[in-house]
Amino acid sequence: MSGKLAETITTLIARPDTGPWLVLTAETLVSLVMVLALYGLARAMRLGGDVRLIDADHAIRLAEATIAGFDAREVTLDRARIGALVRNGEGRVLLIRRHGARFVGREVTSHEGIRLDRHTLTLETGDPRFGPLTLDLGEQAQIWAASLRRLHADQEHPA
């Protein structure tokens, strides 16, 4: 850094109208570099990994963690095990999906936004944060699609 540039910066920092802002900006930029470096390190170390549902019991545990007391009776896993549909005895349906290295669940409360394409079922929960999810459910896709169309009726008149 040339002496003149250093002198200019020193002068600007000494000025009460620019000094604090310069210091804050410099600190923020340095912190941002540190943040990005830590993020890059986490990626380089492959932290998080490629998580998948282990089995149906795993999906059931996740459903019960999503809604305390959710008594899961029926589970179908996506063939790549990135998500699952879980139904309880009252006919309530939970959609489980991967979120980073964890899973999240949302209740499917409406058949709106559900689209069947042979073995895949695309679902929306009504929560824009959750977003739509396409699951490959194999032959179970059509059975789920049919039952989800009756979602409201089943909840009003559980078996």
Partner: protein, 309 residues
């Protein structure tokens, strides 16, 4: 450091405040790197890069915003001190007294931050990660100032503690809480677990398990929770699940920072007039029509189910 030098530092800190947080930042970074190495070897799922990025950017944003409003908070504390009812001398015992009092104030604030939706809206972001590691510690609020959270911590100036002392002990309290955000440490020796907030106690605080909801609010001393019946020990037969009751399912910064404020806005708009205040001041999860659940309701339902089994 010699005793006179320490005394001089304490006097300066009382006069103008000694913010220890910037000095701790290099240690924060180093500790996160060490924990990442531990995670790579023992628990790769303990970190998720996108989650870590969100947490660290929340921390950065919180620091920048905190710097911008620090002057206003200092002015408020200064005004209280100017109208103080007594003057507490700067001495070793008053430093200990204000450290303990500030930690109690943190406990009260933190309890309110979980039991009053207004304060929860600014605190929820800290709990929104489904991971529990040192980067989670830095997932700090962007909206603490407009939520007026600082009011819990500055009132001792009115009693006669110098504002500089409040700033100094508040920073130490914050720095202490960094290390308790980890799964890499199991249980500490029994006497430490009895008195201090530890990783084990704070894991419980970040849990969504019904047993653990709204427990262990402590900052430094866990004795406040033991004293005010909000303590719950971590149990090996009930592993902690982290996050919030309705997991966000996104790493979006703006969602993490503002989602509960937006939800409050929606509820205030839709609720009948008589219920509007409830959506601001009652517990998170409260609803006027009983369609949602608070932590207490979830726990009661879970306890009832346990009793049925």
């Amino acid at each position: 450091m010699t005793l006179p030098a320490l005394a001089d530092l304490a006097r300066q800190a009382a006069a103008s405040g000694l913010d220890v947080v910037p000095f701790a930042v290099p240690f924060f970074v180093a500790a996160i790197v060490v924990e990442m190495v531990w995670a790579a070897r023992h628990a790769p799922g303990a970190y998720e890069p996108a989650d870590t990025l969100t947490s660290l950017l929340m921390g950065l944003g919180s620091t920048v915003l905190g710097t911008l409003v620090a002057g206003v908070i200092a002015l408020a504390a200064g005004w209280l001190y100017a109208h103080r009812v007594a003057t507490v001398p700067v001495a070793w015992w008053s430093w200990i007294a204000i450290f303990v009092l500030d930690d109690f104030n943190y406990y009260v604030f933190h309890r309110a931050a979980h039991r009053v939706r207004w304060f929860w809206a600014s605190h929820v972001n800290h709990h929104s990660s489904q991971h529990y590691n040192l980067s989670t510690a830095l997932r700090q609020t962007w909206t603490g100032f407009p939520a007026l959270s600082f009011a819990f911590r500055i009132w001792p100036a009115f009693v006669g503690f110098a504002p500089g002392m409040l700033l100094t002990v508040g920073g130490i309290n914050l720095v202490y809480q960094f290390w308790v955000h980890t799964e890499a440490v199991g249980r500490m020796p029994r006497w430490i677990e009895a008195v201090m907030n530890t990783p084990s106690h704070h894991r419980v605080h970040h849990a969504t398990n019904p047993r653990y909801l709204d427990r262990n609010y402590a900052g430094v001393f866990i004795v406040w929770d033991r004293l005010f019946k909000s303590f719950e020990p971590e149990r090996d037969d009930d592993p902690v699940r982290y996050g919030i009751v309705h997991q966000l399912g996104t790493f979006s910064l703006t969602t993490v920072a503002f989602h509960e404020w937006r939800a409050i806005g929606r509820d205030l708009w839709r609720a009948p007039f008589s219920a509007k205040l409830g959506y601001l001041l009652r517990a998170p999860g409260w609803s006027h029509d009983g369609s949602r659940e608070t932590s207490d309701m979830i726990r009661e339902r879970w306890q009832a189910a346990q009793g049925d089994e």
